[in-house]
Amino acid sequence: MKARTVLAVALGTVAAATLLVLLAGASPADALAALLRGAFGSKAAAGETAARSTGLVLTAVAAVVAFRAGVLNIGLEGQFLAGAAAAAAVGPLFPDLPFAARAAVILAAPLAGALQAAPAAWLAEKRRVPPVLSTILLNLVAAAGVTWLVRGPLRDPAGDYPQSRALSDAVLLAPLVPGARATAAVLAALVLAALAAFLLSRTPLGLALRAVGEAPRAARAAGLPDVRLRSGAFLASGALAGLGGGLEVLALTGRLYDPFTAGVGYSGIAAALLGGMTPLGGAASGVLFAALGAGSSALQRDAGVPSALASIVPALAVLGLLLAQGGRTAEGSR
């Protein structure tokens, strides 16, 4: 991305945000102050930002891994849900062995995410079905699955709400700092982002993935196992998103309910785009989106600007980028 483009898009976004704030009858200075306070102003606030980052960072990295390999995985939402469902199913199973429960969740969640992605990967390679179509269908199936699970097999016998049995407090991840919601989960997410960055840029496998994503025909003619590479990236992407869902349950909610996500799977894609389709860029954007989300309630409460501004701003930024770049942003994708 050219620096000039980035600057233009950033300025455009700030201008639009300012306009919206004024439209809401608030002062831009107040709005900005409230947002910053809500995102970083206190231990609780910073913890909130960090807590929200986990899911966003993981879905952003998941998007990057898939898109760079040429797979337009729009199914992150469903893969996230699959991981959360797995965590909700497996977590309560070992009430006296918290370590075992956590291990089970950390294994089951990515596995569930990969399984959720698997039919789409198969259809893409064996039937040439564009991943966008199959993953959107799978998202619907996953959402319906969650609706069923929380009212059926996973239903919490205590209470009237449709939600799953809670994981015991001993199993849930402890906050890193008392009084804040952030747990080790966010660290895990950031470490995975760094690993993904390392893998893509510094390993032979990463090189092969990038080649397959950039020029699938040339990669195949050059003797790279393109089908295996693409499918592997697809499944890995699903696993990362699934882990995000599992950690959401393990670290924040303790259970599954319906609806569970606020479109984190799609926000992850936007974050990946904003981050230039790199793991670290996507992670940084994910944290930015999380900060905006964390600050949004303060924005509404203190400055009187509807909290929805926090989701408009990143979307405008990405749209601005897409308009400026034109052409294909995910090259080589089928």
């Binding site: 039937r127 079905v129 966008v132 619907l140 199936v141 959402a143 069923w148 894609i269 897409l322």
Partner: protein, 286 residues
């Protein structure tokens, strides 16, 4: 029983008209997964127009206009500038969700009161005329694609855009027109949600119906007439669930919502290539 049929029709109509618009666009070779966002915009505009004093029919028209503009905007990004339509669509959903929530909050203020608007007057079969028109939409599209010259050209844009170019026609123009039309239909679908069943707006009122409409298009294998039974089935099942209201029906209801998705996936697996999707779906215009 009359109540059941009414409700089934009311529930099916928004899906049907939104799916018809998307089907038209995909046959032209583009794809707008941001249909959810367009429906949301239509819903909000209809709501705002109603709160602003416009009669329901005019609110519908206002929503259509908003959809038209939304479609043109999509065409600017995804067709003319040739950005990946899937990426544009994803971000459009996020933007529409935020923008409509923002606008609603500004319009409604801080009160927790439920704001209502007038609904469309009921007519034949106990449903508004607009709902009945929705059932005509796929039929009209079928006829248009099969028998008109413009329909042939649109289908060519989605199957072999080079062929259109060699005839001296612009693929960008055809796809942009399709985008505008599908924007209108998508927005009307959202508007109908507000102006028929539950005449009030909440954040994310469309609740995934846009994606369901996308699934219907795949389920119908891009053939307009096949949308009718699919939408009616969904409408019927949802109406049934409302009738029964018992919590213990979680299984059948969720299953029926997943059904179009599962069946469509099955159809994709069984078909030879691409599941019947237009050959040039999602490609850049030559």
């Amino acid at each position: 029983m009359t109540g059941f049929v009414e409700i089934a029709l009311l529930l099916a109509a928004p899906l049907l008209i939104a799916a018809t618009g998307e089907l038209l666009l995909e046959r032209a070779g583009s794809i707008q997964i941001g249909l959810e966002g367009t429906m949301l915009v239509g819903a909000f505009v209809a709501f705002a127009a109603g709160r602003g004093g416009l009669p329901p029919a005019s609110s519908l028209a206002a929503a259509a206009l908003a959809g038209f503009l939304a479609g043109l905007l999509f065409a600017l990004f995804a067709v003319a500038r040739r950005a990946d339509p899937i990426l544009v669509g994803t971000v459009w959903n996020l933007l529409a969700l935020g923008a409509t929530a923002f606008a609603y909050r500004l319009a409604a203020g801080e009160t927790g009161a439920v704001l209502e608007v007038r609904t469309l007057p009921r007519g034949l079969f106990g449903v508004p005329d607009a709902v009945l028109a929705s059932f005509l939409a796929p039929v009209v599209l079928h006829f248009w694609l099969a028998r008109t010259r413009a329909g042939l050209r649109l289908a060519a844009a989605g199957e072999n855009p080079e062929a259109l170019r060699s005839l001296g026609l612009s693929v960008v123009a055809v796809r942009s027109g399709a985008a505008a039309a599908s924007g209108v239909l998508g927005a009307l679908g959202g508007a109908m949600l507000i102006l028929t069943v539950s005449p009030t707006f909440v954040e994310g009122v469309t609740a995934g119906r846009g994606f369901l409409a996308l699934a219907l298009v795949v389920f119908a294998r891009w053939k307009p007439l096949a949308l009718l039974p699919a939408a009616l089935l969904l409408g019927g099942v949802t109406a049934l669930q409302y009738q029964l209201q018992a919590g213990g029906f979680g299984l059948p209801y969720a299953f029926f919502i997943a059904l179009p998705g599962l069946v469509a996936l099955g159809a994709l697996a069984l078909a030879s290539t691409r599941g019947g999707a237009p050959k040039a779906l999602g490609s850049a215009a030559p």
